[in-house]
């Protein structure tokens, strides 16, 4: 969105006569990022250290997941319900290289992202030939294929899973630290990618496809190419995040990643936060992670959680289809620090 004051570019000026080099928005983000970078340094003071780091690491991961899903599901309007396939592929890619070639997932995680992008291209080329309806179904089928595939892939442990060599640190709690920073980078990368797409011609094209694909095609946009690229990009940071997630568990089983709740949460976060916006998935992820934490400690069971997820999704779609960001924007009440579009 264009700023009201013309001489105020986001994140830093080319030429500016203002005294402060950053806009309010950029400043806010900088403070947040610096704060997050500093959290692990509070080692002796912060209690419970491991829990907080774990919670935040999880939050970062979900921010990356939902922001990535948003690229295909929000910007392009193509709902992918089997998106957790990228998680499991990323996780097992790095796990396999770790177990069989002794390369740390911290190094191969980026490769996991590339692999997922390639997978996205292949799958996209097959499934994005027609309008959205068949695509959605294909993503579900893909997840189910992955379930069967990974459950039966004995070289990777099948359904019993695969164990990874654990990471050792001087203090047990400090094990969480490298994952914290790694996932923070992943989240930052995913949000940055989302931001750049949103503010590019490519992103404009995606939004045109979401509004009216026939018109977009008529206007000269190569819709198929755009869709395939969007789908591939939407897998990158999910693959990376998945690789790190798998490593952090030290024991991978397909059902962890291919659980319906994983796919559902990605979708829910983007929708509750605001599908098609940059800040929406971030807000949604933070909210839902927080909510899940609270609800698990209150109610424990996961069935109720699933019900609530479903009900929230239905309610959001019926009453707040724009999500938090969208609804606030409609009412003209969106604070500038959250307006990243």
């Amino acid at each position: 969105m264009a700023d009201a004051a013309p001489a105020e570019p986001v994140g830093g000026p080319a030429v500016s006569r203002r005294r402060f080099p950053l806009s309010a928005r950029g400043g806010f983000l900088l403070v947040v990022v610096l704060g997050l970078l500093a959290v692990p340094l509070l080692y002796p003071v912060l209690v419970p250290y491991a829990y907080v780091l774990q919670l935040l690491t999880g939050a970062f991961m979900w921010v990356a997941f939902s922001s990535s899903w948003n690229i295909i599901g929000g910007y392009t309007g193509y709902v992918s319900l089997g998106h957790n396939v990228f998680v499991v592929v990323g996780a097992y890619f790095s796990a396999a290289l770790f177990v069989y070639a002794d390369i740390s997932p911290f190094i191969t995680a980026a490769g996991a992202g590339v692999v997922c992008a390639a997978l996205g291209v292949v799958v996209g080329l097959i499934t994005l030939r027609t309008r959205g309806d068949a695509f959605i179904i294909a993503t579900i089928a893909l997840m189910l294929i992955a379930q069967i595939g990974f459950d039966n892939w004995m070289w990777l442990g099948g359904s019993s899973g695969i164990a990874l060599p654990p990471l050792h640190m001087s203090e047990a709690a400090l094990v969480k630290v490298p994952f914290y920073y790694a996932m923070l980078i992943v989240a930052a990368g995913a949000v940055y990618l989302s931001y750049r797409i949103r503010h590019s011609r490519f992103g404009l094209g995606l939004r045109a496809i979401a509004q009216d694909e026939v018109k977009a095609e008529a206007a000269g946009i190569n819709t198929r190419a755009y869709k395939v690229v969007a789908f591939a990009l939407s897998g990158v940071f999910i693959g990376v995040g998945g690789a790190l997630w798998g490593y952090s568990l030290f024991y991978l089983r397909p059902e962890i990643f291919l659980a319906l709740a994983v796919a559902a949460d990605m979708v829910l976060m983007a929708i509750i936060g605001g599908r098609g916006t940059v800040a929406g998935p971030v807000i949604g992820a933070l909210l839902i992670v927080g909510f899940n934490e609270w609800s698990v400690s209150e109610f424990g069971s996961s069935e109720l959680n699933l019900t609530i997820t479903g009900v929230l999704l239905v309610a959001a779609l019926l009453f707040f289809p724009g999500g938090i960001i969208g609804s606030l924007r409609e009412r003209g009440r969106l604070p500038r620090i959250l307006d990243w579009d």
């Binding site: 294909a138 019900t307 997820t309 009900v311 999704l313 019926l318």
Partner: protein, 290 residues
């Protein structure tokens, strides 16, 4: 196992799959709705059958008289409360997918808290019986399920081709705007179609209850299978649903025999991708320009 035997398995199960998939493709045809909760409703039907069997001794086949109508009502309600308000939304199909997805999750959650996550099934005597004919045997459970499915599908066909509302549903499935112009109240007809579609799923649930084991999370597997099936047959095509169901079921039976049990499901997904490559509109669907 010989070829005839495998084909028998495939065809018998295929009839049941056809019953399950017909409602789903009908909902797409009438209103371009992809009802991801369809299998969840089927599982609800299965649980109703289970409870009726366990607590009242009612035979699963007989319970179809309960599950069908009960889920018919659910279907109409779901249409009125959830899908109808979205009718004017420009991104309708997308919204209905997400909506029905949320609905499926909620249903799974509710079933899970009532019944817990263990496997269930009903076990009437015919579930394990067989009729032996020469070198092949016909499992009675599948046979009765097949017959019940055919009866229901025949009834549906008669309804669609010989009654006025049935005609209206077919017209609406072919061209919603055209149906409106000739005087069809597409809103009421859509409600009726929804009721019928979900009702068929409910009735199929009764069959599922003894043909397969199930638990609250089963719907995911089933919806994947059914959706793949109707895409292969052609979204919105009733003929396609039937042919797709029986055809894929037979292929899956052979694949399972040759390659292993996971292929009873994997076949459907693989063939989905094949059809998307080769003929994206499905066997009986209409080609789209995009």
């Amino acid at each position: 196992m010989n070829v005839i035997q495998i084909t028998i398995f495939g065809v018998l199960l295929g009839g049941v799959y056809a019953l399950m998939a017909t409602g789903l493709t009908m909902l797409y045809g009438v209103m371009r709705v992809i009802n991801l909760a369809h299998a969840a409703f089927m599982i609800v039907g299965a649980y109703i059958a289970f409870v009726l069997y366990r607590d009242l001794g009612i035979d699963p086949l007989l319970s179809m008289l309960v599950t069908g109508p009960a889920l018919f009502v659910v279907g109409v309600l779901v249409y009125q409360l959830l899908f109808r308000p979205l009718a004017d939304n420009p991104r309708f199909t997308e919204m209905t997918v997400l909506l029905s997805f949320g609905l499926a999750l909620a249903v799974e959650g509710i079933l899970g808290s009532i019944f817990s996550n263990i496997y269930h099934s009903t076990d009437p005597s015919y579930a394990t019986g067989t009729i032996d004919i020469g070198s092949v045997f016909i499992p009675t459970g599948q046979l009765y399920g097949f017959i019940a499915s055919l009866v229901l599908l025949a009834g549906l066909w008669a309804f669609l081709y010989y009654t006025k509302p049935g005609y209206a549903i077919r017209a609406t499935m072919q061209d919603r705007a055209a149906a409106q112009i000739v005087g069809v109240n597409v809103d009421r007809i859509s409600a009726l179609a929804f009721g019928i579609g979900v009702g068929l799923a409910g009735a199929a649930g009764s069959l599922l209850s003894y043909l397969f084991t199930f638990f609250p999370g089963s719907h995911l597997l089933w919806i994947g299978l059914l959706l793949s099936l109707i895409v292969v047959g052609g979204l919105g095509s009733l003929k396609g649903a039937f042919v797709g169901a029986v055809g894929l079921s037979v292929i899956a039976a052979f694949a399972t025999d040759e390659l292993g049990p996971e292929w009873s499901y994997l076949t459907f997904y693989v063939l989905l991708f094949v059809i998307l490559l080769v003929r994206p509109q499905g066997l009986f669907g209409k080609a789209e320009t995009i």
